[in-house]
Amino acid sequence: MTIGPDSILVKKVKERFAPFILDTLISRNEITHLIKKDSLIDICRFLKDDSELQLNFLSDVLGTDYFPQKPRFEVVYHLYSIPKKHRLRLKIKIEDGESVPSLTSIWSSADWAERETYDMFGIRFDGHPNLRRIYMPEDWEGFPLRKDYPLKGYKDQYNPYGEEKK
């Protein structure tokens, strides 16, 4: 099945949230909406509850760092509908230091996924009940998946092969 611009995932969302959708990209059978940050919660609620879309499964939340481009980060949401069997990707572009509304009030699966994104990129999620590091130790400095974080880490007493801190 090939997904085209007349798919309900494009049409219905665009109809309802036209001013909040900055861009829609369809490639390799995947639909991506680039949306405004403030509309995230409303759009997600609509996507989850609408009887034709029923995107009830939040598969993943992740970050991408485009350093030194501006805005620096992209937060990506992968949604899936178990009853309708279709997928949708949402994206938000944010600047370093900006925070994103948390989706934990809509899907509990956002909890760990957002913590991971915070841990790796330092992107903060507003309204998250327990936004702490998940993989790295609590006192870790820096965010490892940022593009300006060295592959071998920073030099300290445990890591003689790391890079010197500037």
Partner: protein
């Protein structure tokens, strides 16, 4: 004698793991307990975090395949598959028919290997050691088959972008059919030991219950979601490779408890054996790789005899191949659930970003709601029934 008024139950926090044998790896659970009852269970993970995604950004596309073996190391073939499918989606490659069938056989064998270990270790945790020994006997046979396919038993590095590394050996088909015929009988043996075993029933029935709605909300997938009654299997719902050509069932549970998760896994192994049997009988002749010298390495024989092939091999190994700019998400039904790779390409030879949607990581979130208000002993059953593998959960 102590006065009754002095007997108060204090709330304590118990650390379970990360070196506890029943936590299946380096899981550290912080259990807030009131007496024997769990008030809250909080998983503390990350002990095995190796920064796989960061490593991926610094490697050529083909160099990352062996790293995926080390995610869910109980089912390396599945991880290979999800990754190469994502890269192939970016490149727009359609692999050959033969490669598709070989991949199905490899992925289903790894499902059997993964589930065997899950059930075996689960039995051990709950005091049924025989099952572990039996399960390992059968798992050994799967590993022998893997060795026949690619020479490795655990970290296969078998699938490659554009196909598979080696064609199947002529003797493989017979050996593999022998195994899939034997497996259902052996599964019956385990069931005789477990399914009606009073201890097994007492410790699993009604333990770690999660409703279908909660399971979806928590993002659970794979056997855990299906045992709550949600019939979602990517092999059926978004068929990849050639899964739409096989007749197989998706087992589901009703109660969403540990026992149902056990039943679902046992049935899934039978279905996997069924799929392998069909795949082996339908497998067409052909090449194991697509004919794309700019992506696929030449066969070993050619490298030794043909100068052009040697040059091509050297160039591919040292420079890799460029992947068109864009992004792709490919997901498969791995033994643990939805395993997805999201790759962003900037048009160079190295991925700009690789995100692994690891099912074990997401499924671990269920520990807390499943254990709440249960006894400490139930935590063991719940962790075993979630079947987390920390190579994958910690990445």
């Amino acid at each position: 004698m102590a006065n009754n008024n002095e007997l108060v139950t204090k709330e304590i926090t118990l650390s379970m793991g990360p070196q506890h044998p029943s936590t299946h790896g380096v899981l550290h659970l912080l259990l807030d307990m009131k007496g024997e009852k769990i008030v809250s269970a909080y998983p503390d993970i990350g002990y095995l975090h190796r920064g796989t995604e960061k490593i991926a950004e610094n490697l050529l596309y083909h160099q990352f395949v062996p790293y995926t073996d080390r995610l869910d190391y109980m089912a390396g073939m599945s991880n290979n598959l999800a990754y190469v499918m994502a890269v192939e989606k970016l490149l727009g490659i359609e692999v050959t028919e033969r490669a598709k069938y070989i991949r199905v056989v490899a992925a289903e064998l790894s499902r059997i290997a993964g589930h065997l270990l899950c059930v075996g270790a689960w039995g051990l945790d709950l005091g049924a050691m025989t099952v572990l020994l039996y399960a390992f006997r059968e798992r050994e046979m799967v590993l022998d088959l893997f060795e026949m396919i690619c020479g490795a038993r655990m970290t296969h590095n078998y699938l490659r972008v554009g196909g598979v590394r080696y064609d199947l050996q002529p003797a493989f088909k017979e050996k593999c059919l022998e195994f899939v015929d034997l497996l259902p009988q052996r599964l019956k043996d385990y069931e005789q030991l477990l399914t009606e075993n009073r201890i097994w029933l007492k410790r699993n029935k009604g333990v770690g219950v999660i409703s279908a709605e909660d399971a979806i909300n928590l993002g659970l997938s794979g056997p855990i979601l299906r045992s709550s009654g949600v019939k979602w299997d990517i092999r059926k719902d978004e068929p990849y490779l050639v899964y739409d050509r096989f007749a197989f069932d998706i087992p589901t549970g009703e109660n969403g408890d540990c026992f149902d998760r056990y039943i679902v896994r046992m049935e899934e192994m039978r279905q996997a054996a069924k799929i392998i049997k069909q795949a082996l009988s339908q497998i067409p002749d052909g090449k194991p790789c697509v004919d794309m010298p700019e992506v696929v390495l030449p066969p070993r024989k050619d490298i030794e005899t043909n100068m052009e092939a040697l040059i091509n091999h050297f160039k591919l190994i040292s420079h890799g191949f460029k992947v068109p700019k864009g992004e792709a998400y490919a997901s498969i039904e791995s033994p643990k659930g939805e395993l997805g790779f999201y790759i962003v390409s900037d048009g160079s030879e190295r991925p700009f970003r690789v995100k692994i949607r690891a099912p074990s990581f997401v499924n671990l979130q269920a520990i807390s709601p499943m254990c709440k208000d249960r006894y400490l002993a139930d935590v063991i059953a719940v962790v075993s029934s979630l079947d987390p593998v920390f190579g994958e959960a910690d990445k």
